[in-house]
């Protein structure tokens, strides 16, 4: 299989990050891991956006991924990180396959609100689960990776490496997916469902597959967050978290598979600095940054890296 330019760059950047991480301070490694995990969930939001759907409930899958890691470690005695991530993907896929039957009937604000409702119902269930610590959540067990047990101080770097590998695999896949028949079919549905049907394509089926894949990708993001942060709690399913994902998706734009990663990193850095420099006004700074991006870069930060004719107007 011949690799194209984007793929080479993605692999190159991943390797560069992996090398740089060896010399980076621990906090940067951690922030990077969280940013990559967040970007994966955002990637799911972007997948839906490309099909014209905006989810205010992607936190549902983020949370399922996180809790699968937490519960799998605690009650099933699974410690291998990859198995835990896989468990999250399986659980999430099953849930998404059921919800998808319903969700693909909805568009626009109704899709947004219904996805929000389901996410909040999971939030409610977890809040009611006193045995799981309710809103306090619980800690994730110490994990291993393919038989390797990260020692003291290695966990953060190991988590980053795992996140990098998973994110790279997903990014390579999605880079192809976005240009594939189904990827284009998603965009076609955003543009015109009637024509899609008249082409002989079932828009429901396309949306369904896309929805389930987006959920699975989001679950990986949630699992990685849980492995890195070492704690899960129901906030992961709360609607403001989902709103944050949409925020980052819009910040980055839907133009390229790398956009969510850059946007998530910028978002994290802006927020960290804002929290530090103006602990009483960081929300305002975030809001203003968002407005400026929407005003001057309507297609997101990624539009700075492309020079498509007429795209900026």
């Amino acid at each position: 299989m011949k690799l194209e330019r984007t793929e080479l760059s993605l692999i190159g950047v991943a390797i560069a990050i992996a090398i740089l991480a060896q010399f980076s301070p621990n906090w940067l490694v951690f922030t990077l891991t969280l940013a990559i995990s967040t970007a994966l969930v955002v990637m799911g939001v972007v997948m839906l956006m490309r099909a014209g759907l905006v989810s205010f409930g992607q936190g549902l899958f983020y949370c399922l991924g996180g809790y699968a890691v937490g519960l799998g470690g605690r009650f099933l005695g699974i410690t291998d990180a990859l198995v835990l991530v896989g468990l999250g993907v399986v659980v999430t896929t099953v849930v998404a396959m059921i919800l998808g039957l319903l969700m693909t009937r909805y568009r626009e604000i109704f899709f947004a609100m219904l996805s929000l409702a389901f996410s909040m119902i999971l939030y409610g269930i977890l809040v009611k689960s006193h045995g799981l610590g309710s809103t306090d959540g619980f800690g994730v067990v110490d994990w291993t990776l393919l038989g390797f047990t990260p020692g003291d101080g290695q966990a953060t770097t190991t988590a980053l490496m795992l996140a990098l590998v998973l994110a790279l695999a997903i990014a390579l896949f999605l880079n192809r997916y976005f240009k594939s028949s189904i990827g284009l079919a998603c965009e076609a549905i955003r543009e015109n469902e009637v024509r899609v049907e008249y082409m002989g394509i079932s828009h429901r089926k396309v949306l369904y597959i896309n929805y389930v894949l987006a959920a699975a990708v989001g679950s990986v993001g949630g699992s990685m967050t849980a492995l890195a942060a070492g704690h899960v709690d129901p906030t992961m399913a709360y609607w403001t978290i989902s709103g944050e994902f949409v925020f980052i998706a819009i910040l980055g734009g839907t133009g390229h598979v790398a956009a969510p990663f850059i946007a998530a990193l910028i978002f994290t850095l802006v927020r960290t600095y804002a929290v530090e420099l103006a602990p009483n006004a960081w929300q305002m700074i975030l809001g203003i940054v968002l407005l400026l991006i929407i005003l001057f870069l309507p297609k997101g930060i990624w539009s700075l890296f492309t020079r498509k004719k007429g795209a900026a107007s």
Binding site: Y177, S181, L184, A188, V194, R195, E197, M199
Partner: protein, 258 residues
Amino acid sequence: MTEILRTEGLSRYFGAVTAAEDINVTISEGEIVGVIGANGAGKTTFINMVTGYLPPSQGTIAFDGSPIKGMGPRKLMRKGLARSFQIPQLFLELPVIDNLAIALSAAEHRQFQMIRPVRTPERIKAADEILEQMNINHYRDEMVTAMPQGARKLLDIAIAMLGNPRMLLLDEPTSGVSMEEKYTLMDTVMEAVRQRGLTVLFVEHDMEIVQRYVSRILAFASGEVIKDGPVDEVLADAKVQELVTGKHHRTPEKEGDA
């Protein structure tokens, strides 16, 4: 000649409004049929019912000998029934080539492929061919938004033909196109149709175009087919002249004579 489409007692009501009433039409393979009628006469309703966009209130439709009532556009497309639209239904924010590539991948039943790019060399070649045939190849890499109306109409029809249909329903292919362009457009389309040997049914307001390209006319008024027959016979009919064409074979139409 074998029969390809037959409707019996086809009707459609919107509440108390009758959009189509008791339409009985039989069309044979290879026929080029014109559909005329004033605005609101039921032409588009008829096409929408035949192509599965609107479920009929009553009646039956058979395509190629088998009943197709209740099937949606997708299934009918797979059976060989394609259509174009009065307002071209295109993917405005996608390049022209992708509009065609998606249609081609669907025609190959490969619309769910996830890894292979939609723009395969074969599809690009096929797209280039039809673009050339339609005379819009210079828009190949443009967004649809950059195309003028006439080119969009052609692209819309091209997409319909990519599904390898046996019958094509064209809904006002020349509406919104300037007088000078109309004939070029229709020549291009009809040439492509002839090459593929398609059965065509098209809605048209311009009687000169109708006379020039079709062999048979269905005249609609108030949701009913008031006359069905060879061109001259229908256009000479008094009722058709009164309700559809006006005395001088001209329609009281918005476009007028540019």
